[in-house]
């Protein structure tokens, strides 16, 4: 007796086998969807982590500039160096500007930046008014009152004030992921 192998195979397929095939396909689809969901979640988490890291780094930079401005202002009575203090105020302004740019999606950041506005205006007014009886300051850039450039010796005292080893510079790694952060925490 000769049997057609194809016919034998066809005869062996039962509804149960079809159901198993369907379950297999459904499982494949479910696994694919789960993998995709996990990918999307990880992607979102990575983006959030990057954003928060950048924000934190900028907060550190703002803190650093605020501290250095504070040191400059405290030393003003002795040094009469309005240029140094005004420069630090300018650098703090840039860091706050960056914070504002980052904080569009973070209302609390924006609220905090706005809240310190009056304090900064007080400092600006005091710096513009200058110190009574102070010696003549360095020349300033035309059209930019109150924002002189860096004095040649600025930075040395700041480094010491910030607890740094004198002479050691804050050099972030080139192409590093968080160069600006390195400025703050070096």
């Amino acid at each position: 007796m000769t049997v057609d192998p194809g016919r034998v195979l066809r005869r062996r397929r039962s509804p149960f086998q079809f159901a198993l095939g369907g379950v297999l396909v459904a499982l494949i689809l479910v696994v694919e969807v789960l993998i995709l969901q996990a990918y999307v979640t990880v992607n979102r988490s990575t983006a959030m982590f990057g954003q928060v890291t950048f924000l934190t780094g900028n907060l550190v930079n703002v803190q650093r500039e605020a501290l250095l401005l504070n040191v400059e202002i405290e030393e003003l009575a002795a040094t009469h160096d309005l240029c140094g203090a005004t420069l630090r105020r300018g650098l703090l302004g840039t860091e706050l500007l960056v914070m504002e740019g980052l904080g569009e999606d973070a209302p609390r950041v924006m609220a905090t930046v706005r809240a310190i506005g009056p304090d900064l205006q007080l400092i600006d007014r005091a710096l513009r008014a200058g110190l009574p009886g102070r010696p003549p300051g360095r020349p300033r850039l035309p059209g930019r009152p109150g924002l002189p450039l860096r004095p040649a010796d600025a930075g040395r005292g700041h480094d010491r004030a910030a607890g740094q080893v004198p002479g050691r510079r804050r050099v972030p790694p080139v192409n590093g992921p968080a160069g600006r952060i390195a400025v703050g925490i070096a």
Binding site: L87, L91, P142, P172
Partner: protein, 194 residues
């Protein structure tokens, strides 16, 4: 059996389609960047390579040192804003990575500045230092090829120190270097060529 294979193939195609839809957000984000702009010359300038650069009369905004052929103060080359703006000036609209908006910058190409300063072909590295001591190194070859700008103006106005000024580095949208925000150094005060 043939029907099962067809089912599996259909399932895989469906899965691939779903995967493609899943990545749509990211793809949209990538293509949402504005059309790349390139620097356009606004003033040919009067200071070109090979010319003597006088010592600045105003406040010094940039000091070049190291492997440079031109000097105006000892072994250094100093610029005030006026002398910088005597060079060929270009305008460039770029996506500012920190403010997250497009800004029209104006300034001089860093490659032009290297030419004016007489930087030799053998030079390999340019180190830029900012007023806050932040430091970034560039390869000279990258500077000469990437059209990076030393901006003196943003949206038509000079930039004070509290607005990232008085000079800062800006990259065209097409620049691969510009994708790294760490390289957008602001308040540049000195450059050392090696």
């Amino acid at each position: 059996m043939g029907r099962s294979i067809r089912l599996v193939v259909v399932a895989l195609v469906t899965a691939l389609a779903v995967a493609a839809c899943g990545g749509k957000d990211e793809a949209t984000e990538q293509t949402a960047s504005p059309v790349a702009s390139s620097p356009t010359v606004v003033d040919a300038g009067s200071l070109a390579a090979g010319e003597k650069i006088a010592a600045p009369r105003g406040e010094v905004v940039l000091t070049l040192s190291g492997a440079i052929g031109e000097h105006n103060k000892g072994k250094r080359l100093e610029f005030d804003l006026a002398s910088l703006e005597r060079m060929r000036r270009v305008r460039l609209e770029a996506a500012e990575p920190f403010l997250k908006r497009r800004v029209m910058f104006e300034g001089v190409l860093l490659s032009d500045l290297l030419a004016v300063a007489g930087v030799p072909d053998s030079a390999s590295k340019v180190s830029l230092t900012a007023l806050d001591d932040y430091k970034v190194d560039f390869k000279v070859a990258d500077v000469r090829s990437s059209q990076m700008l030393l901006a003196t103006k943003a949206d038509g106005k000079h930039m004070p120190v509290d607005r990232s000024g008085p000079i800062r580095i800006v990259f065209p949208d097409s620049s691969s270097l510009g994708r790294n925000p760490d390289l957008w150094i602001w308040s540049v005060s000195s450059m050392k060529v090696a």
